[in-house]
């Protein structure tokens, strides 16, 4: 394992940086809007918000193609948007409306956009890790060159099927990139209350694959590490494990910061707020000569998109009563 490279010297294209900034701000503003809806009780579906972790979804997805697969978990609004999921359909899904990406059956925790490589997100901890291993197996058999990425939290590494899956992916050299978002908490329990040491990146050693510890609030570091992992996977050399270190600004679920979880959390948040991944990239753009008014224009444009999406969701119909029992079984062909 190695510590992640510093991003300052990275000769990344400015357009790519602006694109990643746009995606991160879209996620940040969407999550803030959703937090308001949760607080005002306009929406009921449990929402696990991603504020503070945006650089991971955006850095990883920027290194993927549209037809690569990503699999998410309970905290996956950011993954969905970063991969190119439709904002209107996400908002409508959170409102439980027929026009939602899952037809109003999934809610916040079940997003999908197969047209951009999102077969689904589910809240059972670690559940999509074996599924992603399976899409990796499918790609290897079909030789379709696609990459599969499961996104999961640090808590998921405590589940048995994480270990089963990473072993199998390593054994069969599957094109899978295991992206662990270590936000230091599983629900209310801090990492060191759940494992004897803060050493997740060592998992790579055990399975003889790269295990990288990355600053998960540095979008460019995340992007570059993913690029390296993608290249390795495409050469048939197998999976990589990326531990992206970050911090969840809000509580496990809902809009609250959950500072009452412990004195420690208040201290931790004070330490992490200045590491804001969005602010860091904004500063880099300005240092690279991007005009502040250009950044302001991006921010405001996204705010307008979110207003449009909220209006779309609010004005969308509920699912019809007679559709209650639809699709228990399907007659569709699988996506490919």
């Amino acid at each position: 394992m190695t510590d992640a490279q510093q991003s300052e010297h990275s000769p990344l294209d400015l357009d790519l940086k602006i694109s990643m900034y746009t995606s991160m701000v879209l996620i940040r503003q969407s999550e803030e809007a959703i937090a308001d809806l949760v607080e005002s009780k306009e929406i009921k579906t449990p929402c696990h918000l991603y504020i503070g972790q945006e650089a991971i979804a955006v850095g990883v997805c920027a290194a993927l193609n549209t037809d690569d697969y990503i699999w998410g978990a309970h905290r996956s609004h950011g993954h969905y948007l970063a991969k190119g999921g439709n904002l209107n359909q996400m908002m409508a899904e959170i409102f439980g409306r027929k026009t939602g990406c899952a037809g109003g059956r999934g809610g916040s925790m079940h997003l999908c956009a197969p047209e951009v490589g999102i077969p689904g997100t589910v809240p059972l901890v670690a559940a999509t890790i074996p599924l992603a291993t399976g899409s990796g197996m499918a790609s290897k058999l079909r030789k379709d060159g696609r990459i599969s990425v499961p996104f999961f939290g640090d808590g998921a590494t405590e589940e048995g099927h994480f270990h089963e899956s990473i072993n199998m992916a390593a054994l069969y050299n599957l094109p899978v990139i295991f992206v662990c978002e270590n936000n230091m908490y599983a629900s209310h329990l801090q990492l060191l209350e759940r494992r004897p040491a803060d050493n997740l990146q060592k998992i790579g050693d055990l399975y003889e694959i790269p295990g990288l510890r990355i600053d998960g609030n540095d979008v460019i570091a995340v992007y570059e590490a993913t690029r390296t992992a993608v290249e390795r996977a495409k050469k048939g050399e197998g999976p990589s494990f990326l531990e992206c270190r970050t911090y969840r600004w809000l509580g496990h679920v809902g809009h609250d910061r959950n500072l009452d979880v412990g004195v420690k959390r208040r201290d931790e948040l004070e330490e992490w707020l200045p590491k804001d991944p969005v602010a860091r990239l904004r500063l880099q753009l300005i240092e690279a000569g991007v005009d502040a008014s250009e950044i302001e224009r991006i921010d405001q444009g996204l705010q307008a998109d979110i207003e449009t999406a909220l209006a779309f969701a609010r004005n969308s119909p509920n699912p019809k009563n007679d559709s209650l029992l639809d699709h228990v079984f399907s007659s569709n062909e699988g996506i490919s």
Binding site: P119, L124, S135, M137, F329
Partner: protein, 324 residues
Amino acid sequence: MRLLSYAQAIREAHAQLLESDPRVFVIGQGLYSPWYAGSSLLDIDKDYGRDRVIDSPVSENATTGAAVGAAIVGMRPIVFHPRMDFMLLAVDPIVNQAANWSYLFDGKINVPVVIRSVINRGGEQGAQHSQALQAMFMHIPGLKVVMPSTPYDAKGLLIAAVNDGNPVMYIDDRWLYEETGEVPEEMYQVPIGSAQIMREGADVSIVATSYMVSHAMTAAVQLEDQGIQAEIINLRSIKPWDKETVLASVQKTGRLVIADAAWATGGIAAEIGMTISSALFSELKSPVQRVTLPDAPAPIATAHEEIYYPDATNIVNAVKNLLN
């Protein structure tokens, strides 16, 4: 027509599926060993390659989850569990994921996975090597469950399961592996949800699953000697089950015995009995009877096994109770 054993019929279905559909692959423990799979997968890896016939690490959850994930992205995997007991380590991908996916995502994405699990009981194997858990899985919306009882079913139901487009649990039984029967050489499907009337009779309907079908056929011969004509229904598909065929039969006979070698409480017999009692209350000539395992784990001692597992005698006795 050509005779094959039940195990050979399963093997032939695998071979024809692997031959005809590049989306099909097989994963699970024991695929390269007759110790686990009997002759049902004999040398299939040699014919179709170990890329597509994957004898896996000891990871029920990951192999099942991988099969589910591959199915979601368009493959047609068969995941193999040589003992149903061990499959319980993989309940999340089966129940939470595969069975829910179509509904959860509004029918946009289906999960054409076959979960093959084997009941392998008797021989003093005891409580964790003998379980028949079909009722647990019958309970789950979004999951189909089939139990072949003849070589013909064994081949046709596996091919139907792979082609269904939904998650299907295919439960075969080691006690049937050497049974022989007529099996067509070509690929064919036994439609999921269709029962088969194995023998017609006017006095009592006996619905049986898996190896209880052959015991029911034996019981029918014994009953005939006593002047009782039993109609034997091979259920074949547990979920969905063929209500139409069972209803029509019981409308004719007015009597029903259900034989399922699994626990009584919350079982298949309870479900069918409730459905038929409710639909045909006024036409039943006597209460529905069931022949099942007692509500206890499988024993070890042969002496206990002999009284634990039901057979034709239990079915004959159930019919006699019902006629008295």
